[in-house]
Structures are given as C-alpha cells and as structure tokens.
C-alpha cells in the first residue's frame, strides 16, 4: 500500500460540483478506471481518499490534488494511464506523483479573477487599482464565534500578499495571492464581490491557479 497524489484541473461546468459531490464523482471514476485501490479494513470498507484543500463551489482550478492509497506495484505513470480517460466531463488529470508536502503546509493560493467589462475595461482597471492601493478595504467575512457563525469585518489589504491588474479586450484580470489553507483562509470571492458591488454588478469568474507553501514554494 502506498499513497499517490493525483493532480487535476476542474474547469467548465464541473465547477458547480461541490466538494462532497466531487468526492463521490472521483470515487466512481477510480472504480471505473479499475485503479487498484486500497480499502479500509473496517466494518464498511471504503477507499481512502482526501483532497488537499476543498475548492469553493463555482470556482475553476488548474491545481487540484487528491491523495489516495493504492495496492500493488503500479507506477505513477500506469495509474495516470488508467485514470485519464475515465474522468467525468470537466475534470482533466494532469499527472500522478508521489506526495512531497503535507497538505497542512499549504499557506497561500494564487487566484485569477476575470471581469466581463463590456467596453469599460479602463474604468474598471482604474477602480480596482484605486481600491487596492488604499490602506484599508473592509469587507464582511463569515466567521465563527464559538459555535455561532457571525459576520466579521476584515481588512482585505492586510491579507493580500501580492496582486496585479491587467486588461485585455473586454476582460480585466486581477491576479491575487491570498492566505489559503487550514489556519487562515481568505476566499478571493470576498475581493471579487466587493469589486462587483462597486462596478454595477459586473459578472466575474474565478480560477485557482496554484497553491503555495509558507516559503512560497509551489505545493507538490
């Protein structure tokens, strides 16, 4: 029995697959692919599968990873070959590797937010740059207070590790690095929603590009 890390993209309509549903969809894909899964030995045997960092519903990603335990001596390349044609639509296997980092090491995420500007690109770029160059950008974040969920004010600027704003044609792209992981997590939709609010409700899409460790190494 050994642990392998499966890397995949989650694009298009599959972004509406929730974390729980993804778990089920992947388990079925593994069964279709006849991957030699290791099953738990309890009363109700099930495969052992975990995801590094759950992705919000509606967000696309280029850097999803799933750890699973397999039996036998299949190589990573063989597992890749089994998997690649058995994925549900919208999910594409990139590679299969030996895990390097513990998922707990994930500290930051790099995201792209694309805004549909319909001819207002310059104005929107100005607006976003204006927002991000202030000392404070207060938004409300759903947090926990004991058992209760409460809305907390947070200053987004304090959490933004790095950002850039660029425009091409009708679209404006904001690349941003935000805390991600089990200790501190700031969802980029907080920033995207705030921009949307100040720009007459323009539509946006979100994509997770890569996950980073505390030392800014790519999660592998």
């Amino acid at each position: 029995m050994r642990c392998v890390r499966v890397w995949f993209k989650k694009m298009g309509m599959s972004r509406y697959v929730s974390h729980l549903d993804l778990m089920r969809a992947m388990t079925r894909a593994l069964r279709r692919a006849k991957v030699p899964l290791w099953y738990t030995e309890g009363y109700n045997p099930h495969p052992y599968i975990t995801f590094a960092l759950p992705l919000s519903l509606g967000m696309e990603s280029l850097c999803e990873s799933m750890d699973m335990r397999i039996e036998g001596d299949s190589t990573n390349e063989e597992i890749f070959a089994m998997l690649k044609d058995n994925m549900p639509p919208g999910i594409e296997i990139i590679k299969v590797s030996d895990p390097v980092f513990d998922p707990k090491k994930i500290t930051f995420g790099e995201f792209d937010i694309f805004f549909d500007c319909e001819g207002n690109s310059d104005k929107i770029v100005g607006l976003i740059n204006g927002m991000l160059s202030q000392d404070e950008l207060i938004v409300q974040k759903l947090g926990k207070k004991g058992r209760h969920k409460v809305l907390k004010d947070i200053n987004l600027i304090e959490f933004i590790k790095d950002y850039s704003v660029s425009s091409f044609g009708e679209r404006v792209k904001v690349s941003v690095i935000l805390p991600a992981g089990s200790t501190t997590n700031v969802n980029p939709s907080l920033l995207a929603d705030e921009i949307q609010k100040r720009a007459d409700g323009i539509a946006y899409t979100l994509i997770r590009k890569q996950l980073l460790t505390e030392g800014m190494e790519q999660f592998a």
Binding site: Y16, D21, R24, A25, R28, R32, N44, G58, P89
Partner: protein, 618 residues
C-alpha cells in the same frame, strides 16, 4: 451546453449542478444530423427525476436511434424558476441547452397525480400554451405516459396524446410517425388522427365525453376512426427489449444513486389496493443471465457501488437464488453491494437472509399493510401474523435490531379495531425480539410503523370505493397513536390533505382540468413537497370552478357506472375486478397467480402467455 444567460444565474441558486447538464454518459448529438428532437420531461426536481428507472430506459432506447436525439428536462426548483422568469430564460433541455420550443416531441412521465401542476408550469416556462387546443402547429407535440396515463382524463386537455403501457416499442412507432408527418408537412389534426391508429396511443381530443345531470359520465364516443377502446402496450420479452448499458451518473446526490435493474414486470400477488400490481400485468420475468450481464456492464460504465434489484415483489422472482449466486460471484471483488427492496414476509427464506448478510446489513422493511388478519384478507395481502413473526424471529436471530413496518389507513371495510390492530401487531414484533435467546446484548429493538392513507385507484378492485374523508383519516391516525404504548414503537404518517387531493385526481375526469389550471395559475406547484403545498389554494380552485372534490374522492360508485377511464383497456377484465371487489367484502382471499390463475385476463395481451403460469402449465 447551457447558455451564457443561464451561467450568469447559476451562482444565485441552490445546487446549481442540477441545471448544468454534462454529466457522465449523457448523450450529446449533432442536432443538424437528427430528424427528431425529443425532450423527455420529468415533472419534478432533478434529484427525483434522475432516480427514476423509466427515464433511463426510454432515454437510452430513444438515443440508440441515429435519427433521434432525446434530452432530459426537469422542473427547476422555485429559486431557479424565479431567476429564469426574471431574466426571460425559457425552460431548456440539459444536453443542448436549447429551449423546449425547438423540440418536435415533448414527453412527460406521469408518475404521480401531484405532479400535474408542474407539467403546466414547465410548459409555461418554455413559453408553450398549456392547452392542446391552443397549440396549432404540428410541433412540438406534447405527450404523456407512465402509470397515471391509465386515467389521464384530468389532464387530457393539456396533452396531445398519451401512450398506454410499456413505452419502449410504442415510442419508436411514434417517432417514425412524427418524422414522416414532418416530411409530409401534415396538419396537427391529421397527425393526431394517424397517431390514434398506433396501438396503445390515446388521443383524448378524438373522444367526446357526454355527462349525465349528476355529472357522472354518460357516454364516451370515439370520433375520426379512433378506436373505441385503446389497449395498453406490453413488451413481450424482457430479455430482448432494450436495456441501457450506461446510466447517466449525476454529479449531485440524487435520491436513488445506484445501478437499478428491473428483474420482472408485473406482480403475482393481486393485493386489491395496489394499482401497480394490476397495471403492469401480465408477469414477465427476465432471465438471471441477462440481469447478471447487464448489471456487471452497468457497474463498469458508471462506477456505482450498489445494485438494486427492483420489481414490485422481488422475492417472487423465480430465479432469485440463481441470480444472487451469479451476482455474488463478482460483486464482492468489485466491492459492490446488492439491495433487495420489496421483499415479502411470507417467502423471506433463511437462505435469502444469508445472501443479504453477505452484502450489507441495511434496515429490514416489511409491509403487512393492515393490522388484523381479517383486513389483510379483505385486501388480499395474503400474509399471516405467523409468517410475519417467523420473519421477525429470523431477522432478530440474524442480528437485526430495527424493523420497519408499512401500513395503510382508510382501507375499505376498515374498523377502529383494525387500526388498533396495527399497534398490537407492532407490539408482538417487539415481544418477539425479547423472546429471542441470542438477542444482541445491550441492544434494544426499534419498530418503526409508517402509515400512509389509502387512495382508491383505477383498474383495481377498489376503484369503486369511497375514500375516507380527511376527518376520518385524522381520527384514525389519532386512534393509532393512542394505541401505541411503548417508545420502542415509533409512528410516522402522511399528511391527509395530500392523499385527499391524490384521491380526487386519481379517479377524476375532464371537468378537473379547469381546477388544475386555476390552482397552477394561483401558485400551486411541487404539490408533493410539504413546503410548497398550498392546500387553501386548491380548495379555492375547486370552489371557483364549481367542482365538488368529494364527488371524485369520497363517493361510492355503482359497478354499472361508466367510469372516466372505461375506454382505456389495460387487459384486466372488469368482471374480474368486480368479483375481487365482492370477495373483499366477504374477507375472502384469492391465491396468488403461481398457485392458481385468477383469470384477470391480462395474459391475452401477451398471446396468452404469463410467466406466473409457466411452471404450473408445463
């Protein structure tokens, strides 16, 4: 692919995965290369519709033709509907994202009466007039099928035609006719006239209904060469009929998320309250080999880890042991569980329980249906108390500690003693647990009673009966609750107003279409969902339309009365139903079909063949 407009509203609604399409094994074709586009609609939510076996079979069968593209449509949940209406997005099919108006054929499956308002709502969301007479062009043609098509009269004005009985072959013939009528560019009227010539197709507009002064049916007249009686279709051989080799695998969790296999059609039992037991006759069994091969294939193409062997009475399947051996030879390696729903109390063998233990221990559910032997005899349930106790004993010694029992309230001839009998029977099951010397230590027993309200249905021996009124049902529910003396027995029951409405529409006629339209126009939809059920609006609808609902639900009919569905023929002889109805009042049972053929007549639909008779005849 769904449109940009739809994509924009998806972030605003609950469970957007219901509206995206693109699931594994969904079928996408080039629309310019097909002759007929078919939108198969399930008038309820995605989670309910995707659990339904019929849609999987008919979707796959239709798409096996190169000239047809069949897509799926479900009722959008209320939050999605609101967004769609606000942004003027018409109802679309999941595979192409195209609005329903682009389809040639729109088919609704009629699984339960309380989905009728959803049908109107879906047509309206697609911008299609709800009444057949207001749709003048040839396409889209609106059709219906499924169990409620056995009395489609309350919704007859909304549909162009209905398909009665098994749908696999008749749909094919309908596709051919539509394709040729499109090429010839014939009128809708001409198409309907031709369609009525297909066996099993009922075109309601070709039948004139005359009413008596007391609003009962006086006469039904077939016009324009339509047949006097429309006979339902059946599939003769289940081994050769199309069965899917792939199921669509939903992303989101649906109610029944597993491989389902239909192992037989029909039921040998003849329980007098059960419509399905009569509608799906004659008995046709599938061979164990076919089922086994198809199940394995389905597990491989879907990745599902559970198979459910479905039928009206799974333990009556002649080759069940052979089938279980075959399945278990590979399912354990595949880590696949087998579920056996619809088991009976009287033939639940030790061997069968052994198989069940090898797969996975789930709850055990049995349906005695009535609390006393007298009433069980009257409804022809053919289950004795002793059999139930034997089964309970076996289950308890096999390690089970929870048993669920299904009952009905409001059955014909029921007294308050019969109601109290439900609690007494459950108590005896509890006692049986404590009598068992090897009962698991430190564990109690839980007996759950689930009671539904009886609704008289067409094509059953109880089709003439008066349904209990809501007050009577509530009083019986209370009597049952007060008869239960221990916390080891829990009781759950259905809302009576929902059963009442079901009772009205089950045996309704065309005078109800105005009521349905009124209720829908005033906000009724998803009526089978408690949160959405607007009973007051329904009562208002009856009043405004001048219809007395009790005329349909709680009126005892004479055997001589012309019933609204008498011109539809499901192969069951009326004399047989009358004799069964009379026997109910004598508390007299009828042996099941394998012991002795009761002469229901449905074997004549299959050239005299019935798989229940096969053994005894040879």
């Amino acid at each position: 692919m769904i449109s940009k407009e739809v994509e924009k509203i998806l972030p605003l609604v609950q469970k957007p995965g219901r509206y995206t399409g693109g699931e594994l094994n969904s079928v996408v074709k080039d629309k310019s290369k097909v002759d007929l586009r078919y939108a198969f609609c399930f008038p309820d939510s995605y989670e309910i519709g995707m659990s339904h076996l019929g849609i999987k079979i008919l979707y796959s069968a239709a798409n096996s033709r190169d000239d047809v593209w069949c897509e799926r449509v479900f009722a959008p949940w209320t939050d999605m509907e609101k967004e769609m209406r606000e942004k003027n997005i018409p109802l679309y099919a999941l595979e192409s994202g195209d609005p329903l108006t682009e389809f040639d054929l729109i088919g609704f499956t009629l699984q339960y009466e309380l989905s009728y308002t959803n049908i109107l709502n879906m047509l309206d969301l697609a911008g299609i007039p709800v009444r057949s007479k207001d749709r003048s062009s040839l396409t889209p043609i609106i059709v219906g099928g499924g169990p409620c098509a056995c009395n489609p009269e309350p919704i007859a004005d909304f549909f162009d035609l209905f398909m009665l009985g098994d749908g696999e072959e008749v749909s094919d013939e309908l596709f051919d006719l539509i394709i040729s009528c499109k090429k010839e560019n014939v009128s809708k009227a001409e198409f309907l006239k031709r369609a009525a010539q297909i066996k099993g197709v009922y075109v309601p507009s070709l039948y004139e209904i005359e009413y008596n002064e007391d609003k009962t049916v006086k006469a039904v007249k077939a016009t324009q060469t339509a047949p006097e009686k429309v006979t339902k279709r059946i599939i003769s051989d289940l081994d050769t009929v199309h069965y899917p080799d792939k199921f669509i695998v939903p992303f989101i969790e649906v109610v029944h998320d597993r491989v389902v296999h239909e192992i037989l059609r029909g039921c040998i039992r003849g329980c007098r309250f059960c419509q399905a037991g009569f509608l799906y006759r004659p008995i046709r069994e599938k061979s164990a080999d076919t089922i086994n091969t198809q199940c394995k294939r389905l597990c491989e193409t879907t990745g599902y880890d559970e198979i459910s062997l479905s039928s009206l009475s799974t333990s009556d399947y002649t080759h069940l042991e052979e089938l279980m051996e075959k399945l278990l030879s590979w399912t354990e390696d595949y880590k696949v569980n087998i579920a056996l729903p619809s088991l009976r109390v009287d033939n639940f063998s030790e061997k069968l329980m052994g198989y069940l233990k090898r797969v996975r221990r789930s709850g055990l559910t049995f349906a005695p249906e009535a609390g006393t032997q007298r009433l069980r005899d009257a409804i022809n349930k053919n289950v004795t108390e002793e059999e139930l106790m034997n089964t309970a004993r076996q289950a308890f010694s096999g390690g089970w500690t929870a048993v669920k029992l299904y009952f009905m309230l409001g059955l014909p001839t029921e007294t308050y003693d019969d109601v109290a009998g439900i609690a007494e029977l459950a108590q005896k099951v509890v006692n049986e647990f404590y009598r068992n010397p090897d009962k698991p230590k430190g564990k109690g027993v839980q007996v759950s009673i689930s009671v539904s309200s009886f609704v008289p249905k067409p094509f059953t021996p109880f089709q003439w009966e008066a349904q209990d009124t809501m007050d009577e049902l509530i009083s019986k529910q209370n009597h049952l609750l007060s008869s239960v003396k221990t916390k080891k027995i829990s009781v759950s029951y259905h809302k009576v107003n929902i059963s009442f409405l079901e009772g009205v529409f089950a045996r309704g006629d065309r005078q109800l279409s105005d009521v349905i339209e009124y209720a829908w126009r005033h906000g009724c939809k998803f009526d089978s969902w408690d949160d959405n059920f607007l009973f007051d609006v329904w009562l208002e609808a009856f009043e405004k339309c001048g219809v007395d609902p009790l005329f349909y639900s709680s009126r005892k009919r004479e055997y001589e009365e012309i019933l609204p569905w008498d011109h539809l023929d499901y192969g069951i002889r009326k004399e047989f139903l009358i004799s069964e109805s009379k026997k109910a009042y004598e508390n007299e049972t009828t042996p099941h079909c394998k012991i002795k053929c009761a002469g229901c007549g449905t074997n004549m639909l299959n050239g005299g063949k019935c798989d229940a008779m096969r053994k005894s005849m040879v």
